[in-house]
Chain length 312, copies 2
Amino acid sequence: MIEAANKLGYVPNALAQRFALRKSGNLGVILPMLPKVNLFSTYYFSEVLSGIGMTAKQRGYDLLLLFREPHEPRDYASLFRTQKIDGCIILGAQDIPSERAALQELRDGEYPFCLVNQRFEGEAFCTVDADQRMGSYHAGKHLVKQGYRRIGFLNGPAEYSNSLDRLKGYQQALKEAGLPYNPEHVLVGNYSRKSGYGLAEAVAKLVESGEVDAVIAANDRMAIGLMQGLKELGIRIGEHLALVGCDDSDVSRMTEPPLTSIRVPFYEVGCEAASRLLDAMTENEPPAPFEIKLPVKLIERASSQVSLATRD
Amino acid sequence: MIEAANKLGYVPNALAQRFALRKSGNLGVILPMLPKVNLFSTYYFSEVLSGIGMTAKQRGYDLLLLFREPHEPRDYASLFRTQKIDGCIILGAQDIPSERAALQELRDGEYPFCLVNQRFEGEAFCTVDADQRMGSYHAGKHLVKQGYRRIGFLNGPAEYSNSLDRLKGYQQALKEAGLPYNPEHVLVGNYSRKSGYGLAEAVAKLVESGEVDAVIAANDRMAIGLMQGLKELGIRIGEHLALVGCDDSDVSRMTEPPLTSIRVPFYEVGCEAASRLLDAMTENEPPAPFEIKLPVKLIERASSQVSLATRD
């Protein structure tokens, strides 16, 4: 039998060993598969994945990418049961019942996992996140300092805890400046460039009626789409409207005018998630729940220069 | 024993089955790990990986990413022998002896693999590539049509077959226009933005001495670095020097002036490589060697407008 196996080029030992140790040597990364989006081409995913990949490599793990379609049933635990992975990091999780159930199953099975950029109210899962609330708070404070008083907000969908965090930071900045919060000045896209572009007319109306003189967008992609749409409608950023994005992606430096944005350490978020999870896996115990928030920083560019209303 | 296994939550059947069928359900992707480069953030890798990932997902495969450090010994065959993967796609292969040996071992072991954007002279490996030669040929023809006669070339390293292809296309365009080929007008970077930036002084000298009035860069990153460096030296693209990049990455639309570039279907290259490899794997036979070249296209923008010398 061994001879036959050898003849066939089989190396059963490695597999048998992994089988015995319940060890695949793979760190799983669950990724959403979004229609018409080249996932790796988005700044957020590419940076987080680079951080995870670099850390996994240093620790001797390979990365198993597992694409999840939006309406596919979620069954993360079976990835552990069939020894495809030893641990997993989940990107783009959504606060919907099937996701919660799949994560609870992981926790109950004591399978090591870590969420990136998503928290679940009422659950103590391991999470690494950037401090998105402080991001839009800084953006709001900055705009107030520049002389803007009618600040709108272009947010992402509420299934993402990040969207809720950002909204809170925006509200906090308004409150501290003594400005009223008006839900009609909050628009919602889906974090795509296209959704920002599609909301340009709505924003243009708010600008033309004088209701809004500045907008904070929850990511750069939507900010850039909005910028393109407004340009076509004759509204100039930095002149008729101030704009602040979020992510400080490569493109924020290349728009005309360059986009003020919130620098979010996505690469470090990926490193941190992988490194804490791999630590826990080495200890061979289910990780004590942790919730890490990495700091963000406002990067000032021309899209949010001093308001015309307050210029000398 | 089975009871004990059940109690422990083991599901030996799936693994045993994979073991018997020699099937992991994983498609391996070998990626170079470059120092200080967030791989997924580069247009080339992110697009190719998106194409591979989308195709693998549709066919029920997961993607195992295997990072290879530049000087790490290459042993791809062991990934098959230990059943980590059922097939593999190799990105960023280099024409060096250790790489050739590792690939020959794969072929001799009849392990299914496919190279992306790299050919090996004298070997009939499966390869999917873009027609890079035609790319720089089109770039050269375009510059000649715009009135440029002293066209330089900023290439990548010779270990990549793509660099050699691009050089040939450039030489062919010169030849057809009756222009002399001068090796001193060919500079070599390493495909990074920084390397383009670092060569700005050398290019500036060629421009100032009147030896060069246009440059073709072998990728957009180097073109953008060169652009930034030349700007600091007071040389304006589209006025003192025409510039054509290659990749037509997102940023080519955002530079000032926008960059003429060669659109390369990297996403489709990834899809094609994965789909042909998975076809071969399903047939359970070593794939008959194939060499696919996908067409490229010149996208004209302001960085290569009509030469001052020939403007009315």
